[in-house]
């Protein structure tokens, strides 16, 4: 995992990963593990790196959950909460919505 030299960016990165993980774990541990494993196998990336590779996460979620992807994204958005308007999160969510 690559951490930035800017502490605030590291906090955002960790918080975003936490939000994605909590949404997946709310469905079940196997669902979370499946996403982690597909990201690793097919895109050689991890959930905490998804701010840099959002399209990989998008494809994996769409492949597994189909049309429920929109709702998963919505749940991630609501999990982020009030700070969702921050550029770091809007950039990520905009790419995931495209």
């Amino acid at each position: 995992m690559n951490f930035s030299v800017h502490p605030e960016e590291n906090i955002d990165k960790a918080f975003l990963a936490f939000c994605i993980e909590i949404v997946l774990l709310r469905m079940g541990k196997p669902q979370y593990e499946k996403v982690v494993s597909r990201l690793e196998k097919e895109y050689q990336t991890y959930i905490p790196e998804c701010d840099k590779t959002p399209l990989a996460l998008k494809r994996v979620l769409q492949d597994i959950f189909g049309d429920a992807y929109d709702d998963i994204l919505k749940e991630i958005r609501s999990e982020i909460g009030e700070i969702v308007s921050k550029k770091y999160y809007t950039d990520f969510l905009t790419t995931m919505t495209k």
Partner: protein, 259 residues
Amino acid sequence: MQVSQKGALLACLGIMGFVYFAANIFEQENYPIIENSVYPTDIFFIVISPITIIIAAILVVRHGTTGNHSIAWILFLAGSILWYAADLTYYYNSEYIAENNQSYLVDYLYYSSYFLYFGFMVFYLRPRKNKITKKIIILGIIISTSFIAPSMYFISQKSVDDNAETGINLVYPFLDSMVFVPAFVAVILFFRGEMNFLWITMTLGVVCMAVADTVFLVERYLEIFSASSMANLFFAWKWILFGFGAYSHVRIFGAKVTQ
């Protein structure tokens, strides 16, 4: 040669259809395994259908106690065990004989299974509840009323002698309708994803249950129900569809991540 899930499912459904066709041609009622109780096609319900229970148990172990899906699979396992227990009790009570033994334990077990299956679907859909619109639910309810209509029409056209038994059998189409709605919602929600196969098989399984219950109601009323009945074929298909659906889930989410 690798056989796809869909191919294997179709083959199993086809084989089961052929078995029932052969059972009718050769009149299996003349070759009981246990007099007035167990006939050759019933071996499926006693020996093969527990495979679905085993697959459900694997999913319960795999999901543990984290998340909504873990509760969902526990309910599915409980529903399948109760259904199997009802099947065994049915044979034990020798229900194939024309006389009613006045015990409704079997029906209560089946009823409980429907509620557990309903619970399974509700808990599975719970994390995605925000995406479920009234429109989808209403559409599901409209389609599900078609399960009730044939039974109600049949009963309204006949004079019913045994109100208790007909009443008991008439509950099933309503339970089928109840279970169909969340299954239908799930097919739409998970459309295009890998999980879609599970929900297509579950929905078709519920449709098979509805057809089987309606045929059973009519045949019991006309006193022509037998082990080779179409109702039993549809019940067998329901087990196969549920089994394949659960197995597809094992294939998607079965492997643990190696760190």
